[in-house]
């Protein structure tokens, strides 16, 4: 037995994304945001996308390229505070934005990845984030039904991958990546390094390759990955 090889050309992997698709994008700020995959999706040009990402990066960076190119119809997120352009698009009605409590966004994505229908949580009860949500009692206390989120595609940034798609992340670039890597039908990974099978310690793998469909190696990193100069 030998584990299958999932290396793939980046443009070919992203070309599978069709108009109207739902796409999860890893990252919290710059760390873990798959900058190269985002550019590949801009080049590919699929439109009417629903994106799921913690934040929209900053104007002119990361996810903002997809907002600027007009490919995005809907954004499920937690916080747009660093991207005034995204807030303008939202306020002018050019994109629909659904805000989630950050931990509930993480939990809904994990639920999608875990093959469960929803989690029951008391987070946000008594606030406007509870509006419109189904309420179920557990042990006599009201809980909100937070439905699982799945996507057609997930775009993931990893520090290291092997050819089977086992992934390791570094520092706070981990964030939503391992969750989204479980929750999409097609999982596309950009890795700073792609190693042969066996180069990653089996105890130190953060995402099993079983969850991953396509792996591409990044060449030299663009400036977008660097420390932000403010």
């Amino acid at each position: 037995m030998k584990l299958p090889d999932k290396r793939c050309d980046m443009a070919a992997a992203v070309a599978r994304i069709k108009d109207g698709a739902t796409v999860m994008v890893g990252g919290f700020g710059v760390p873990g945001t798959p900058m190269a995959l985002i550019h590949a999706l801009v080049d590919h040009g699929a439109r009417d996308l629903t994106l799921i990402k913690n934040d929209a990066n900053e104007p002119g960076m990361g996810l903002d390229h997809l907002l600027q190119s007009g490919q995005v119809t809907r954004l499920i997120t937690t916080h747009l505070g660093l991207n005034s352009h995204a807030i303008d698009l939202m306020n002018s009605g050019r994109i629909k934005v659904e805000f989630n409590a950050q931990g509930m966004l993480a939990e809904r994505i994990r639920a999608g990845g875990a093959g469960i229908g929803a989690v029951l949580s008391d987070i946000g009860i008594g606030t406007e984030l509870a509006e419109g949500k189904q309420v179920v009692e557990v042990d006599g206390k009201p809980h909100l039904v937070e439905t699982a989120l799945r996507a057609d595609f997930a775009l993931i940034h990893a520090d290291r991958a092997d050819t089977f798609g086992n992934l390791a992340y570094v520092a706070t670039a981990r964030n939503f990546n391992p969750l989204m890597a479980m929750a999409a039908t097609h999982v596309i990974v950009e890795a700073e390094t792609v190693t042969p099978l066996g180069a990653l310690d089996a105890d130190a793998v953060h995402t099993s390759g079983v969850f991953v469909d396509h792996v591409t190696e990044l060449g030299a990193l663009s400036k977008e990955y660097a420390v932000v100069q403010r």
Partner: protein, 210 residues
């Protein structure tokens, strides 16, 4: 039968092999065959089973056998392991059975009053693997058919079984019930019919022998 079942595994699949007969399927896969074996207790990329003197005390499969890793193996916790199962990342599971119904219901975990050790990971494998096949003897020790119209034992999952491998035949579960796919060498149609507890469709085409 085991060799025939091993041909059910296609290149690139992620597969979980249940305790008992299914585990033996590994031995029939070529060394370089591209496949990933999963075990519920937290490993993708199972390698060969090891004898006690070579075993790693911390490395077992869900049946308790001392196994090994392959290049590219990964370990994870039990919640992640079943996340793989429930979210559809298992292409195939091979399970044992006490009873199968002609609608594909599976009973393989409890015989009330006799055997009720708990369901373990069986429900999720049966309910959520993309394809579920059963490896079993055609009849129980008393000679009663295991392939029935309806299960009488507590179910593991409903309508989950696609195909059944026995020492006598390969049988598919179809919308019209059991359908013969292949027959073992030296076994007659009448013998298979006799040992099967529900109507069996015999296609008009030539039936391969295994």
């Amino acid at each position: 039968m085991i060799a025939r079942a091993s041909r059910e595994i296609a290149s690139g699949m992620v597969v979980n092999l249940g305790i008992g007969l299914p585990t033996k399927v590994i031995d029939h896969l070529p060394a370089d065959f591209p496949v990933c074996l999963h075990t519920e207790n937290g490993l993708t990329g199972i390698g060969p089973t090891l004898p006690p003197d070579q075993a790693d005390r911390n490395l077992i499969d869900a049946g308790g056998a001392y196994v090994s890793t392959v290049p590219g193996s990964a370990f994870f916790d039990s919640a992640t392991s079943f996340a793989m199962v429930r979210s559809g990342r298992l292409d195939l599971t091979m399970l044992g059975a006490f009873e199968v119904s002609s609608q594909g219901d599976l009973a393989n975990w409890k015989i009330p009053g006799k055997f009720s050790p708990g369901v373990g990971g069986g429900i999720e494998l049966a309910q959520k693997a993309r394809r579920v096949v059963v490896l079993t003897t055609h009849t129980d020790r008393a000679g009663n058919p295991k392939l029935k119209d309806e299960c009488t034992l507590p179910l593991t999952a409903r309508g989950c079984v696609s195909r059944i491998f026995t020492e006598m035949a390969v049988i598919d579960v179809t919308p019209k019930g059991y359908a013969l796919v292949e027959i073992a060498e030296g076994i007659s149609l009448a013998e298979v019919r006799e040992a099967t507890g529900a109507p069996l469709t015999i296609p008009d085409t030539t039936r391969p022998v295994f």
